[in-house]
Every structure is written in C-alpha cells, then in structure tokens.
Amino acid sequence: MEKQLIIAVSREYGTGGHRVAKALAEKFGINFYDRRMLEEIADQKNMSVDTLHKYDELPRNVFISRTVRGMSNSPEEAVANFQFDYIREKADSGESFVILGRCAEHVLKDHPALITVFILGDKEDKLKYVEERRRVNAQQAAAMMYRHDKKRKAYHNYYCPNKWGDARGYDVTLNISKLGVEKAADFLESYVRMRIELNK
C-alpha cells in the first residue's frame, strides 16, 4: 500500500460490523484494531488488562467523578484517552489500519487518510444474527442488543460532538440488512478504492 489508509468502522450491535471491518483489513492487507488493543496498552503502561477491560467503552459517570483544573478522575475517561492516544500514535506513525469503534471517526477527524463508516441494520435481521451467533433466544438477543447499543451510544455521544449513527458524522452509513456481511465488505472495498483513486 503506497498511501496511508485508515478506515474507522462504527456499528450497531448485531450487524456483523466486526466481521465487515476485519474483512476490509484483509482485503487491503492492513492491520485491524479492536478491543484487543487494550492488551498492547496494558503492556505499554505496565498495568492489568482486566482493569482496562473493566472501564472500556464506557462514558464518564458524572455523579461519581469530577474535573479539577482540567484533570478528570474518571477511570472510564482515562481508559478512553489511553485508546485515543494509541489510535493517534498509530495514525501519526503513517501506519494503515482498520479501527473498530473507539470514536476513531472523531479522534482522527482531521487526518487526511481517514475514511469513516457506520453500519446499521434492520431490527429483525440483527435479532436473528445475535440469536445465531450468541446462541440465545429472541428475548435474550433483544436485551443484549439494547444493552450494547445503549452503552455504545452513551460512550460515543460523551466523547464526540456528532451523534452516534447520525449520517452527517460519517462518510458512509450502510444498512447491512440489504447486502449481508460479505457483499457489504465488497461494497465498502469498492468505495474505499474509489476514494484512493480520487486522492491520487
């Protein structure tokens, strides 16, 4: 890959967005970063990965944390900032990668190599996907979807000025129900290639 390429993928729970993001990384032969970046951060900071997981992708709780002279004592905010710094460092090093979640579309918003994607889906399809993948019944799948999406939305909307899933905050918003995971990855690949062509 000649020019740097960064693809930030955000997604609703149950859309298979993780698989799409991974497929995109494979198609372009670039690194893929998701929750596992916490292991590397834990190594760098000499801290327990469990601590990082505990506070991962959570918004700051305003009732149990405070800010004094610009310093926040929220562990959630500290862990979020570790990840934002990690993403920025990767981007600044010139590396090409696909990043899943972590507000990357906002953290790297001024980066010229950035392409941002939000993947959504129809409720019935997402339910079916969660039931099959997680081997749970419809009620449990609905509860999981509600919980995860609520958490992702709260996390995103706390750290980013644009709203989670609002089309105005992304280059592409794609309803995966109409294409499925593989076709969606193909579609996004062609979109990214078009962008690369235009930027040449």
């Binding site: 801290m47 506070y55 149990i64 004094v68 004592n73 562990p75 500290a78 900032n81």
Partner: protein
C-alpha cells in the same frame, strides 16, 4: 415565601449544574449569582439596598478590611477577603512553582531518605500534611503525585497507596490552619477567627489525628508498597537530582523568602491586625514585583476560574441567608438537639463530613456558616465549638470519596493518567476507615474539650 422558593431553586439548580460539569462551574455560580440578584432581590424582594449589600464591594474600601481594629463588622454576601486571600496565595504558589520549588522539595526529601520506599512514603505524608497547612492542597498534590509517579516508575513500586495517603494527609493538613482549606478561610474570615485560633483548635485535632493516620496507612499499605514489581536493582544515577528541578536560582530564594514572609504574616496576624485580605494582596504584589519578565507566565497560571466561582457562590448563599432559608435549617437542627450540645456537635461534624464526601465542601461550608451562627445565637452553644466542628467535618469528610475534595480528584486523576485508574471501591476501602478514624477523634476531642 416566593423569594425563599426562588433562592432555593437557584441554589439547587446551581448544585446540579456544578455536578454535571456540562458548563464550567464558574459560569454556573456567576450566572446563578446574577439570577439571585435579579430574581430574588430585584423581582421578589424589590430590595435594591440588599442587592448592593450582597455584592459587598463597599467592604473593600473600609480600613477594617485591611487592618482590623477589633471592632465588630457584620457583612454578608461576597466575602472579598477570602477571594483576595485565595487569589494572592495562588499568585505566590505559582511563583514558587515557576522556579521549581515544589519539585525540588519532593526530590530533596526522597534523596534524604535514600530513595527507600517506606521512608519516602512516611516523609511524603508528613510533607503533604505540613505543606497543605499553608498552600492549597491542589498544588501540594499536583507536585507530590507527579514526583511519586516518577519515583514509582524508577524504583518500581505501586504509586497508588502512596498517592492516596498523600491526598488524605493534604486534606488533614488543610484542616489545621485557617489558610489550609477554603472552608477554613470562609469560616475564619466570616466569623473573625485568626490563624492561631485555628492552629490551637483544629490544628491540635489535626496533629493528634495525623499520628493515628500515619500508623493506619503504614499498617494498611506497607505490604502493597514493599512489593516491588521488578526484580532488578535500581540505578540511582538515573534519578534526577533535586537541583535539576530549580529553573531559576535567584528566583528560587526570592520566592522562598516570600513564602516565609507569608507564613510569618499569617502566624502573627492576630497581633499585627493585618487581615488575610491584606496578606493575600501583599504576597501577590511581592511575587509580581520580583517575577520580572516572568510575571505574565505566573499570572496566566493563576486559577482565576476558582476565584470567579467563589464570587458567584457567595451571592447565591447570600440569597439563601437573606431570605431566611438558612435559619429554617438552623431551627430544624436546634429542634432535634434542644440543649443537647453533644448531639449538636455530632450532627454538625458528621453531617458536614457526609455532605462533603459527595458534594463540593466550599458551597457547603459557605451555606453552613450562617447556619451555625444562627444556632449559636438561638441555643446558647459556643460559636467556637460549632465552628471547629464544621471545619473538621467539611475538611476531613471530603477525603472519604474520590470526588469529595479537589486534592482527591487531582491525585486520582494523576494516577489514572499514569496508568493507574482508581475506582471507587479501591479508593473507599482505604480512605473511608481513615476518614472515620479522624472524625471519631475530632468528635471525642471537641465534646471533651469544649462542652
């Protein structure tokens, strides 16, 4: 009645907005203060004289404001003495920080104890306690925590227990003097107590408590501290020398001299008659004059937002006081206690402590000062007893949770930034027992000595 409802509503909304941090807190209190002036005094009470009294600018031009003659001066509203004193001390502290004084002091002490973890732990607790008596606990913890983290990295120990102990001792040290913690400045300047009044009352309680607290933290944390995360021996030559912290040698001695002058002026202010407002302005002017070309650097670092926060807050509390809301609270406490003064002391200490553990102790103490004044007038209990109870409760109670006091926030934020996020569970497990120990000591001492 409408004025009371308006004053309470503004106060409650202000508190909620401070907690949510959606808007910077100085804008919140200034906006609330302006609303209090317009709605409570202007529209509801139609009392424009009281409006002017609450702003209280006229107090600054009186001779009594700068040098007390012992005459009784009653003034509510904005406590300009507190604002000027805090502002002046901030300028002085920034002057000291610029020349590297705090970092030098931390590194010097670490070197003195030969970079041994447990002696550093004990020395830093003591330093935190003593420094916080004279300068704000935020600055004390900013420097102590950053040096602790640096030493922890080099000497391979866990910095969290040490930072927590430093935070607690800073809050405890702050309770010992009039200028140690903002609630004490508010209590002292409103109720006309001197620096030595605090030292001989809350200072004694703080010192007794400090002995117990050092022992408590030592036994609770020694295991965590002695467990080194690395096996190899530390190369002490890699450690920065204390002298490398000093950025301006002449400035270092000049600012140290100003600090010593401030301490002398504070200790003797009951004899000299110089007020805290005078002392604040004097040390600020001395720092400005001697800072030369660095004056703008120093002034830019002053936390003017906190000063604006205080001004707005005093107006809102003035609204509550003027409309009689605080008397209702005082009446309620006196009804519960009757003439049982011990119960009153217990309520003031523990209520203040519990409230300060969760909400900012500055608005709380500003609100409670008129309440204890009213209690003393109506029940006959000595105002001194209630003042020391309020000071100990608000100063120490704030240590119990990560959000209770500014020093806790700064300490835990510095730890989090360095890769050691501290959750409520971990924090409270160590700090709540320590807080309870001091509160029990304070309750027993005040009941035994003053009642």
């Amino acid at each position: 009645m409408i004025a009371q409802i308006a004053a309470i509503t503004i106060f409650v909304v202000m508190f909620i907005l401070i907690i949510t941090e959606k808007i910077e807190k100085h804008y919140v209190t200034l906006g609330s203060g302006l609303l209090t002036l317009i709605v409570v005094f202007g529209i509801c009470l139609k009392d424009f004289g009281a409006m002017w009294d609450i702003v209280n600018l006229k107090s600054i031009v009186t001779a009594e404001f700068w040098r007390t003659t012992g005459a009784e001066s009653e003034s509510g509203g904005v406590d300009w003495a507190t604002v000027l004193f805090l502002g002046g001390m901030m300028v002085m502290v920034e002057g000291m920080a610029r020349v590297g004084f705090f970092r030098w002091l931390c590194m010097r002490i670490a070197k003195l104890v030969k970079y041994k973890t447990i002696p550093i732990f004990l020395a830093f607790m003591t330093m935190s306690f003593i420094l916080a008596m004279f300068i704000d606990s935020i600055t004390v913890i900013l420097f102590l925590a950053s040096v602790t983290i640096e030493l922890a990295r080099l000497l391979k120990f866990n910095p969290v227990p040490m930072i927590l102990a430093e935070v607690f001792c800073a809050n405890l040290g702050g309770s010992a003097t009039m200028c140690g913690d903002p609630p004490n400045i508010i209590i002292g300047s409103n109720l006309h107590y001197s620096f030595m009044d605090f030292v001989t009352n809350t200072g004694v309680i703080a010192l007794i408590s400090f002995v117990f607290i050092v022992a408590y933290f030592y036994f609770v944390m020694r295991k965590q501290l002695s467990t080194s995360t690395g096996g190899e021996a530390t190369d002490f030559s890699k450690l920065p020398s204390p002298e490398s912290a000093i950025t301006d040698k002449v400035g270092f001695f000049v600012n140290l001299a100003i600090f010593l002058i401030a301490i002398v002026l504070l200790i003797t202010h009951a004899n000299t008659g110089l007020t805290v407002a005078f002392i604040g302005v004097a040390v600020a002017l001395l720092t400005i004059i001697t800072s030369g070309k660095h004056v703008l650097t120093v002034l830019k670092k002053v936390d003017y937002k906190t000063l604006l926060f205080f001004i707005g807050l005093f107006v809102v509390v003035g609204g509550l006081e003027h409309t009689g809301v605080l008397e209702v609270i005082a009446d309620f406490i006196s009804k519960i206690c009757g003439t049982n003064y011990a119960l009153m002391v217990v309520i003031i200490i523990w209520l203040s402590a519990i409230a300060s553990a969760f909400i900012d102790n500055i608005p709380f103490s500003a609100t409670m000062v008129p309440v204890i004044k009213s209690l003393a007038e109506t029940t006959g209990i000595s105002l001194d007893t209630l003042a020391w109870s309020l000071a100990m409760g608000t100063d120490v109670g704030g240590s119990a949770t990560p959000i209770g006091a500014s020093a806790n926030v700064v300490g835990t934020a510095a730890a989090a930034k360095a890769g050691h996020p501290i959750g409520w569970g971990e924090y409270c497990k160590k700090m709540v027992p320590a807080t309870v120990i001091v509160l029990v000591i304070a309750t027993v001492y005040i009941c035994a000595v003053y009642l």
